[in-house]
């Protein structure tokens, strides 16, 4: 709204009326009557010139209802005066863009527009825009002036034409170029399907992701879902860009529906799975996962996922109950000696097994017994042994090589006992000796890292073949008895003698080496 100073200037000049309609519109704030009626003097001037031409007594009654006048200073559109004069009661639209866009009444505005010059046609002028006014009077009052109406129609057509001229569809290539280079653009004028297709094709050619997305969003808003899907199906890049956009905007529901419609069921299910993982509440999470497995993963092609996620649900339940028990229990002395690093909830399966091997080794038969894991999750021998050996070593319980196969048999109660017994029988019978199925070098490394005593390491070292490797490993871990044994096995007399010099005389290894040197058969 123009300042009152400007208004003064304007109305000061307006002894002579504004020359043209355009002018009238440009000064869109001009006919604000508020300032005038407040100060009064311009109002007088105004009414002087208008009064003789204007007599509409009926209008007064219809327009000025008491509530309007009482709110006259508040409302932006309506400003009235309490004086008796008609003109004082004329409520004007200040013709700001906001009131036009509200589009309350077309007719009065049209009337306003039809005026060629304010001064000449002032006598015919009906102030626009108040609803009550328009309903009550104007239409009937103007019905006679068909010429005027014609003029209205003509001008409104012209206006529309000029509007669409400024928003006329530029060539598709130019529009896409503008979008790619960050210039202003408008898409609403591409209304035909072929236009849209061309637009999308041009955006894809430009391989500008942001533009492709903008065009696709426009297409989604203006095309039926079926047609929109057709577009996405015809171009993998378009589909991927649009899905990426939906994910970025976190519109997952729509993304899932779209994936389903495009026949990408695996991705749809995984997107749902991703959302399930974000749930923190245990009960809600498992419930959501259960619905997922029963609905989205029912297709036979997705059985692998179904098995895995069912395992996960089971594991989560198990972890929850283990965690609840362990956070309460103070009886288990291990928790004092080896405080829990963190809750076991939502940890990987093997970490949970490791945890249970540490803290719940003796709870056989319960849901947290390591053996229960093996059967419940179909663990391989390797997975089970590694987790148990590492977990037990953490609490300084080391297995000797010959004990490893028994882990697979005796500790497994219940139905699977026989099966795993058979398995371990196979694995041990293959080697002849009780040779563990785990690689010895890595087993040694793990045990050494868990500070296993030398006797345990020596037991494993004695199984290492070839003997050169055994010697190297024994030296690396500094297991003296094993070094001596390896040297004896290698029949390396000189080496053994040299090694003896490093050993403190009288130590067990020294005695052993000495005995070997005396009795052994050397080359």
């Amino acid at each position: 709204m123009a300042s009152s100073r400007e208004q003064e200037d304007y109305w000061g000049e307006s002894d002579t009326a504004p020359a043209a309609l355009d002018n009238f519109f440009d000064e869109n704030s001009t006919v604000s009557w508020r300032g005038a009626s407040e100060s009064g003097d311009y109002l007088v001037d105004w009414s002087k010139r208008v009064k003789p031409t204007k007599t509409v007594p009926a209008v007064q009654g219809t327009v000025v209802s008491p509530d309007i006048s009482s709110t006259s200073y508040v409302s932006p559109d309506v400003s009235c005066n309490l004086s008796d004069s008609i003109l004082d009661n004329i409520t004007t639209d200040n013709l700001s863009s906001s009131s036009i866009s509200e589009g309350t009444v077309a007719q009065p505005r049209g009337v306003g527009r039809s005026l060629g010059s304010l001064g000449e046609k002032l006598q015919d002028w009906k102030p626009p825009s108040v609803k009550k006014w328009s309903h009550a009077g104007v239409v009937e009052r103007c019905s006679g002036c068909s010429a005027l109406e014609q003029q209205v129609a003509q001008l409104s057509n012209q206006l529309q034409a000029s509007f669409s001229r400024s928003h006329v569809a530029v060539p598709v290539a130019a529009a896409v170029h503008a979008m790619c280079t960050g210039q202003p653009y408008a898409l609403h004028c591409y209304r035909s399907l072929s236009d849209k297709r061309e637009l999308l094709a041009a955006a894809l050619r430009a391989s500008h992701t942001s533009t492709i997305i903008a065009v696709l969003v426009f297409c989604r808003n203006t095309l039926s879902r079926q047609l929109f899907l057709q577009e996405l199906q015809s171009s993998a890049v378009a589909a991927q860009s649009y899905l990426g956009y939906l994910k970025q905007r976190r519109q997952y529901r729509e993304a899932m529906e779209l994936l389903q419609d495009l026949g990408r069921h695996e991705e749809a299910a995984l997107l749902r799975y991703r959302q399930c993982l974000a749930i923190t509440d245990h009960a809600k999470k498992t419930a959501a996962l259960r619905t997922l497995t029963s609905s989205s993963l029912s297709s036979p092609a997705l059985t692998h996922y179904k098995t895995l996620i069912n395992d996960q649900i089971d594991l989560l339940e198990r972890q929850k109950s283990i965690d609840e028990e362990d956070s309460k229990s103070s009886s288990n002395a291990l928790f004092k000696e080896y405080p829990r690093a963190s809750s076991v909830y939502d940890k990987p399966l093997l970490t949970t097994l490791y945890y249970c091997a540490m803290y719940h080794w003796t709870n056989s038969g319960s849901h947290c017994a390591p053996a229960a894991f093996r059967s419940a999750y179909r663990l391989t021998e390797r997975q089970f042994l590694w987790a148990v050996v590492r977990g037990r070593a953490r609490v300084k319980h080391y297995f000797l090589p010959e004990q490893l196969p028994t882990l697979l048999t005796t500790r497994t109660g219940g139905m699977l006992g026989s099966l795993s017994g058979a398995l371990s029988a196979v694995s041990s019978s293959l080697a002849g000796a009780p040779r563990p199925s785990l690689p010895l070098d890595r087993l040694l490394d793990a045990l050494h890292a868990a500070s296993a005593p030398h006797a345990v390491l020596a037991a494993y070292l004695s199984l290492v073949e070839p003997r050169e490797l055994r010697l190297r490993l024994a030296q690396h871990y500094d297991v003296r008895s094993a070094v001596v044994e390896a040297l004896v096995a290698l029949k390396d007399k000189a080496g053994l003698q040299r090694y003896m010099e490093q050993l403190p005389p009288g130590s067990a290894e020294y005695v052993k080496a000495d005995a070997a040197l005396k009795t052994g058969r050397w080359k």
Binding site: T211, R390, D445
Partner: protein, 643 residues
Amino acid sequence: MQHPPYRVMSGMSGHCDKIVSGVDVWMLRELGCRSLVCCLEELPGKKDLIIDASLMKFLDRLSQAATLREHDVEKIFRLEQVPPSGQCAQRMYMVRSIPDSVKFIAEHLNHHQQELKQEQLQYQQKSQNQQQSHRVPISRILVVCVPSITYSVECQLEEEGLAGGGLVSLHSFCPGFVPLDDDLLTLEMPNFFRDAFVEGDFSSCAGIGQSLHLLCSLFGAPQRLLSHGRAAHAVITSFQRLRSDIDESHHSTKTKSQIGHLFILDRDADLVTPLLTQLTYEGSIDEHYGIHAGVVELPENLNPDANKPSASKIMLNSKDSIFASVRHKHFAGVAGVLVRRAKEIQTRKEESKKMTPAQMKEFVAFDLKQLQAQQNSISLHLSICEAITKATRRDFDVQLTTEHGLVTGATAASEAKTYFEDCCARQLPLSSCLRLLCLLSLTQSNGLSLKEYESLTSQLVAACGHKHILTLFDLRQVGLLNVSDSASMDQPQSSAMRGLRQAASNLMSKGQFAAWRSLTKFLKLIPDAEELIDLHNPSHLSYVFNGAYTPAIVQLVSQCLTDGLQSISDALKLIPGSTTSFGWSGDATLLPPVVVVLVCGGVTFAELAAFRLLGLRTGKRIIVATTGTTSGNKLMNSIANGS
């Protein structure tokens, strides 16, 4: 708009020690710094600066905090969900163009306005108290999107009710390439690989194209160009769009071309290289400690400054002559070289004892400080060597044998599978397990069978967590994990099983899985078993992987430079994406000897070492530009974390 004079620029180019072949890459830094200053002056007056965490390292390479202060930055914050505690009425946010950043900003603004309201209430309640409100209403927020404003950001801003209105406005800032070294330029887009090759979002390519355009405005347009790949295509389209716009507006001055060749390739042209363990010195540092934007963060015990026991950040580049001499060497030879250098320095120092006073004066003035610095550097690098050797797992040789055996075909798949199962059962880090699994699947002529895939992945998931079901799917999308779909050809999932990469590939046939094997034949990536590869005085590019494999991207460039474009056309057909090329007719000897290789999606240090050797062999200066240095671990983690 008036910009204040650039006060910071003097001494900036002091960074550059040598200008080789006329192309001074350090000018790019100056240019980037200037555009940063322009960007800061878009919001004149005092302001707080809030920076996206992933942009911090990049901005640090570009400029210093002092520069920011000189342009009225009061406080600098990291972009987080928690609102910054700044007191300025103006804020500048420097963010990646993703809707989430805008969400944070909207939250910050809401929080601020609520606080303001509360304070006003309190103020009204005890109006007699003259205490002034210490919180200033925010008058303007400038959101700087790096590298360009995207549609989704605009949408988000509009949805948050912040578009228009004058309070919040968007601005784009494309800083261009930042030099990390004389031959390495980076854009530091750590998420590019994931965005582009997993999500199929190539929106950052527009920024890369713009950066390339900036590069060419300095050093002239390349005379020969080869671009191949999906991201490369988006980059070159954006680049050419900008060039044609400029050509239209300025017909006149064209910079004299100093770049002979420009190659633009995608990371997914060679996915095997990042899966193999890097064996050069710099590569080993990256594998163990991670090098980010040219800086490594060493653990406490490796701090060269013994007085301050804390993690230390070391800038790794050729300015350190000792590091420059060993960075590309095979790790096994590094300690020897360092010890030799240390002895040389020792003798030079001892020589100084017999010097005349005049000689001594000269020695102290010129050489002593340098020798001292070199000695410090040697001791640092020796302790890094030692630490890496110590941290190397016992089964490292088994791992290397498996990796190289898979590539050359010497190791049977069953053997590798057993090793993989063992790695999973021992719960090795996720990235190690995934790298092995992917390598196994890529090197098999048909990928993994569905049965193998299901058994191996269920073991991986047991070791690393069920949520990695998503990671595995994404790996298949990228083409890092090949699963043969012969068993499930009729099933609806088969199209998804093939993944994005195959979908984008030129070859839609079932033979796709053999693509990598064929590529190794076309490009001769695997040296003959009889061929002797000298690891310590290398002449063969495959030295970076113990002579088992030549990085394909380097070999592509090498073959193209020596034998021309035609020699690699068969190989290009096996790589997804489309080719653009120009300028390949004509005499190659007349071209400037500078080659720029742009790798979209990251380049490994092993490849950088091979490129350096290629440069020495061909007598060309090879400048590698990339979205960031990468490694198998970084790729795997970026995929796993996004999942």
